[in-house]
């Protein structure tokens, strides 16, 4: 029951699964930051239509299961609407997974950024304006640096959640580690090594999430603005 040899026999497959997870997480991290920043700027813009669009997007995404979003991407947009990224199915599945996960995580990044802006007291903006800083200068020198420092911790939480959410891409046929696990377990030749397998996968995820968490926590403390 605690036989570790099946685990090591399939080690290559498992490692490939983790590699796929990492690729997905890295791309989604970058894209979700971009999407989240854009959405946040929409939500705080002085243009009502942009605000409505941003709010609508966030409310829809926050209340929809990620599984549904990814399935819509792979089955709906990919198969039905035939919006493909490339001819190889694995590449297409990868990019749809990236897009779906980023579109989803981006909403949470947006909310984090907005809450960061809200932590900056109005007095800071008033003081900045009263010494003659222009709009761009106020934002660049006073407001945004403080907002950015406030969101490091919550952003860390969002990214850790996203790393764990990469497993949902299994629903979209992307061969990350959860799907690989399922495939291995379903093999008829695979008998006894379930516990080591899951233990290994669990440890693998802890290796990804715990250091990330501690890093963001440390960074947040270092950069915290004392008030």
């Amino acid at each position: 029951m605690f036989d570790f040899s099946p685990f090591f026999d399939n080690f290559d497959e498992i490692m490939q699964g983790f590699w796929a997870t990492l690729r997905l997480a890295a791309a989604a991290a970058v894209l979700s930051l971009i999407i989240g920043t854009a959405l946040a700027s929409f939500r705080v813009a002085p243009v009502p239509v942009l605000r409505a669009f941003g709010t609508g997007y966030v409310n829809i995404v926050r209340n929809t299961p990620l599984t549904l979003v990814l399935l819509m991407c792979s089955l709906g947009l990919n198969d039905i609407l035939a919006l493909k990224f490339s001819d190889t199915s694995s590449t297409t599945y990868y990019w749809w997974a990236v897009l779906g996960l980023s579109a989803y995580t981006g909403a949470f990044v947006c909310e984090t950024l907005r809450s960061g802006i809200n932590t900056v007291p109005l007095g800071q903006a008033e003081a900045a304006r009263s010494i003659g800083l222009t709009f761009t200068q106020s934002l660049r020198v006073i407001i945004l640096p403080q907002a950015f420092r406030a969101i490091i911790a919550p952003l860390g939480s969002v990214f850790i959640a996203m790393i764990k959410n990469t497993t949902v891409a299994a629903a979209a046929s992307y061969a990350e580690v959860a799907l690989v696990t399922k495939t291995i377990v379903d093999k008829p030749t695979f008998a006894n090594g379930v516990i080591p397998l899951f233990l290994g996968v669990a440890i693998g995820f802890l290796i990804l999430t715990l250091p990330t968490g501690y890093f963001f926590g440390w960074l947040a403390k270092r950069m915290a603005v004392a008030r």
């Binding site: 002085p46 549904l68 039905i80 800071q124 406030a150 377990v185 899951f198 999430t209």
Partner: protein, 330 residues
């Protein structure tokens, strides 16, 4: 158009107002164009055909496919919520214990279940018992396994068949949801109790109450008021996560709407997705509305001096630590 100065923008003057109106017009046009392109593409692929949308207007579809699916979702969510709350209270209080031999293991368990993806937990419950139960049945724990399945786990539909235990998808989903959300709730409970001003516990100790009484009579009641919005938010997360059952073919709502209906009705995946999404959004927004209402009500009722934990989300993930405004994790 607000005339108040905000952190980002100064009070708009006439030029700024004109510029905003121009931007509004431009953005509206751009959005309209994008929307039109999307509609055209859908039309081009024949997605507006009657037969793709009509299944959702037929009562039989609802009665036999969609509503049972919705019921299964709500069933799993309800059971998991109750169990997760129990788990959360037990482990949350355990993490607040003065005895390190209670606190540390509880902490390890909570951080473990929070650090692993929910889907892996579901897989764990779904696949592992099936594979290892034959081996256990033959070992000295065989009797224990049989009894626990027959008398306890059978409530969740777990079956034992000549030593091989089968865990149904429902039980696996409930297990995963309970463990994960229970761990998050444990953190919510811990943060909630810790957020009660120290003066409350100091006063309680000073009138002679001991740890048990302080917790039971003074801290927990106030903590519940504080935690309610965060707990309801977590229930919303839990409800969304029932959709993961799709991956192990649990007959929940997403499965019913997204797999079964299209299978029977000309593969209307897109339409099904939209309908299912609308229903999920409706349910979750109502729940979130309840959470916000609770937060506003408790701010007015002033049953406790402590500030309510916002509906913004659970405490930060493992290691991140710093108690800031956070965002839901799934």
């Amino acid at each position: 158009m607000s005339k108040e100065a905000t952190v980002l923008f100064d009070v708009p003057g006439p030029r700024a107002r004109a510029r905003n109106m121009l931007l509004t017009a431009v953005v509206t046009v751009v959005l309209a164009v994008v929307f039109a392109a999307l509609i055209w593409r859908l039309y081009d692929k024949g997605q507006f055909e009657e037969k793709l949308w009509s299944p959702f207007t037929e009562w039989t579809v609802w009665r036999h496919l969609l509503l049972p699916g919705l019921l299964n979702t709500l069933k799993a969510a309800a059971v998991a919520t109750v169990l997760a709350l129990l788990f959360g209270i037990v482990f949350g209080l355990a993490r607040l214990s003065e005895h390190w031999w209670v606190r540390v293991p509880a902490g390890v368990v909570v951080e473990f279940f929070r650090g692993i993806p929910l889907l892996i937990l579901i897989f764990l419950a779904f696949f592992v018992p099936n594979k290892i139960s034959p081996a256990i049945a033959e070992s000295s724990f065989g009797q224990l396994q049989r009894l626990s399945v027959d008398y306890f786990f059978s409530i969740f539909g777990v079956e034992s068949n000549a030593g091989t235990v089968t865990v149904p998808a429902f039980a696996a989903v409930v297990f995963g949801l309970t463990m994960y959300n229970g761990s998050v709730l444990a953190e919510v409970v811990r943060a909630g109790v810790l957020s009660i001003p120290k003066g409350q516990s100091e006063a309680a100790y000073s009138i002679g109450l001991r740890k048990n009484g302080v917790m039971r009579l003074v801290l927990l009641p106030q903590a519940i008021t504080v935690m309610m919005p965060a707990i309801v938010s977590q229930i919303v997360v839990l409800l969304k996560d029932t959709a993961l059952g799709f991956i192990i073919a649990y007959g929940e709502f997403l499965q019913a709407g997204f797999k079964q209906v299209p299978a029977n009705y000309e593969n209307n995946v897109l339409q099904a997705g939209i309908v299912v999404a609308i229903i999920y959004i409706a349910i979750n927004m109502s729940l979130s509305r309840v959470a916000t209402w609770l937060e506003a009500r408790s701010r007015r009722s002033r049953k406790t001096e402590a500030k309510t934990m916002g509906t913004a989300g659970p405490p930060p993930a493992a290691g991140v630590g710093v108690g800031e405004q956070t965002v839901p994790t799934i």
